[in-house]
Symmetry: C2
């Protein structure tokens, strides 16, 4: 590790993890998602004397790897909550909400940066970073407010899940265009087609064909009796190593296909979501992610250069406003059939970008398609939309109650028992 002793590396890991967890806990007390605290911890460490004191200036390579492992397992876990079979059930409204909530923010981000810099790849990545909705943060806010059973919440979560898949397809296309843009228009089409084909093929094979084959196989065998358990147990593998192998394997395959590793990891999670009953691995991934994921957000924070913030703060605020307005308007438009106050709730609920926007910007940065300054802009936008979403959502739900006189919403104080 460039001459850093293992003791120094251990000290770095300890201090970084401690900082991230303390900052995350402080944020949770303040009712802000802990992700925000972990990014802040990274920003503080990178922009103070701590960075030199911990010898982090010597070699960040290790933390890049820990961060990459963290984000790969995180996207696998997100994929685990996105079974394709459920996707088909969410219905027309959620689909409309998701598509409009993807198209409008993408066009806004793309247009804004084509106007400023006239740089195709840059504008594509900013547009892609505007697309995603963080299922995790949205669902968390709703469950904190004890509102999971309302129609609006179901539409929001359904649309956010579709958003994840659409976000991965947009990312695949954007990477295809950016990679192929050195050649001609034919190159772009070929590489993008290859990318989309990869995504669709994995979904078809893993989430449609395999589960179908399995059901047919199960029907042929007939209902399994408890007596056969002994025989089966011998064949059963622990699902975790198997899941890790498939997750890492598809991530590597995705990079070979010119896509981001996280796309492969996300698709691997989607495939395992179809086999939850046979190979449950959600609970096993949770502790691994509790250890590794903070390193991703720390790393993101450490890449933010505070001293350059003066120059980009105006662009960051404009992009943030665009991100809020286009998502709110697009998703509201998609759900207008539910009434204006409900559409308002859905629009506001889809605003938080959370980690997904940052992840996409990080890929753009690592391939040098966007600059460090623009990366900081996207981090600002993602953090701002995430911080603003909980109070906005509370306001939107209250407003609907005042207007409609709907009762039955529990007191917010009881939400803590969730």
């Amino acid at each position: 590790m460039n001459g850093l002793s293992i003791e120094t590396v251990l000290l770095q890991i300890f201090v970084l993890f401690l900082f991230a967890k303390v900052a995350g806990m402080v944020c949770e007390r303040l009712k802000v998602p802990s992700v925000i605290g972990e990014i802040f911890a990274g920003i503080i460490i990178a922009n103070t004397i701590l960075f030199q004191w911990l010898s982090l200036d010597v070699d960040l390579g290790l933390f890049e790897v820990l961060a990459e492992l963290g984000v790969i397992f995180l996207l696998f876990a997100v994929g685990l909550e996105t079974p394709f079979s459920e996707l088909r059930k969410v219905g027309g409204t959620a689909m409309k909400v998701a598509v409009l909530g993807v198209v409008l923010p993408f066009l806004a981000g793309f247009a804004m940066f084509m106007a400023i810099d006239n740089n195709l790849n840059e504008a594509l990545f900013i547009g892609a970073a505007m697309v995603a909705t963080s299922v995790g943060i949205t669902a968390r806010v709703i469950s904190d407010m004890n509102l999971t059973r309302t129609l609006e919440s179901r539409i929001i979560v359904g649309a956010a899940v579709i958003d994840d898949v659409l976000g991965m397809i947009v990312l695949a296309i954007v990477m295809g265009v950016a990679m192929g843009s050195e050649g001609g228009i034919l190159d772009i089409i070929l590489v993008s087609a290859e990318a989309v084909l990869f995504v669709l093929m994995v979904i078809f094979l893993g989430s449609i064909l395999l589960p179908k084959l399995r059901r047919r196989y199960a029907e042929q065998r007939g209902p399994s009796s408890p007596l056969q358990c002994g025989e089966r147990k011998r064949m059963a593998l622990s699902p975790l190593p198997f899941a890790i192998v498939v997750c890492l394997g598809l991530a590597v395959l995705a990079t070979v296909a010119g896509l981001a590793a996280i796309i492969g990891a996300f698709l691997a999670g989607m495939v395992f979501a179809e086999f939850k009953d046979k190979w449950p691995c959600e609970e096993d991934f949770h502790p691994i992610n509790q250890f590794l994921v903070p390193f991703f957000f720390l790393y993101v924070g450490m890449l933010v250069d505070v001293s350059s913030f003066g120059a980009i703060i105006v662009i960051a605020i404009i992009l943030t406003l665009l991100a809020i307005v286009t998502k709110w308007f697009g998703c509201g438009l998609g759900s207008l059939s539910m009434g204006r106050s409900s559409a308002n709730i859905v629009g506001v609920g889809m605003v938080p970008r959370g980690e997904v926007g940052i992840i996409i910007a990080n890929i753009g940065l690592s391939y040098a398609f966007i600059t460090e300054g623009l990366f900081s802009v996207v981090v600002f936008m993602s953090m701002a939309t995430t911080i603003i979403a909980p109070p906005l959502l509370t306001w939107a739900f209250r407003r609907k109650m005042d207007l409609d006189g709907v009762c039955g919403m529990p007191e917010p104080s009881s939400a803590e028992n969730e």
Copy 2:
């Protein structure tokens, strides 16, 4: 990472993990502990074209860090199974078995290498590597044979647990002597005393004083009623991040005190073992270790240089025979009061060194107290004692049954249901 792209690193991690798991599974099928397979996977990778093909020759630093994290969390998990309060209950026989099983192998290893090389530090580390008994492997063999409820098994597991603590103290002293041996005899005494003091102080504070204070506090509060739960829940932290922080913190503290990081991690595990009811974290560490620990054994395997084996094979075989005979004789002597055939079982059951001997040799190698050749010798000894233990233990139990005519031992075929 010395110019290796993140895609290459991801490919390395994927291939290494896949190899380790497949080799581990093959070993489990052959009724050999999976640890052996993981080490073999490392040996194969390091000594074939795979090493260059995966660019592992460019930078092994990352895998050193993953291996160190793996072994730290592994020793924490071993500590979790070693509550100090249980240690006091194991009784005189187990204590005698443990002490004699530590002293004889240490003296044998020490004497052999003082005779060969007349190098104090080298002889100390080899002696220390001879000491440990792998609780994990012994317990696994016994439970695979469905014999956990026999008196012999309880003595073996009790003595193996004490062995772990004694092994850590021996390692602390050996490191103290090796570190201080550049100064005079006073230095050696001071540094060793500091090392032992660190171990005893953590045990006293964490495993004796804290649990006592907690019991007194609980008595003052009186029995907790379910009504107070809401209030308590708000204070409760997720135990895993807290456990990781304490584990890494004590590991760092141990390195600051001139000890091995794993000693701190082991002690942290012992402390958490006293608070299992309040902060259960065993199940959370299991998945983390399933991912990280294979990298330690892979790394161990990768450090073994097969081409040098011709020169050291005789020494390796002699050391292995010494390791088996001294452990068997020492532990048998300690349990002779149980009768000769039972003492035979206990002696054989304590033979497997498993990972602990390797871990100690690895520390000796990283501080350059022992050579790479000697490290390979210790790996050979640890693997050989581990492979030989299960069939020997089966033979010893069968022998006792034939001699005593004791019934009630279940058929080995039903052991698979365990």
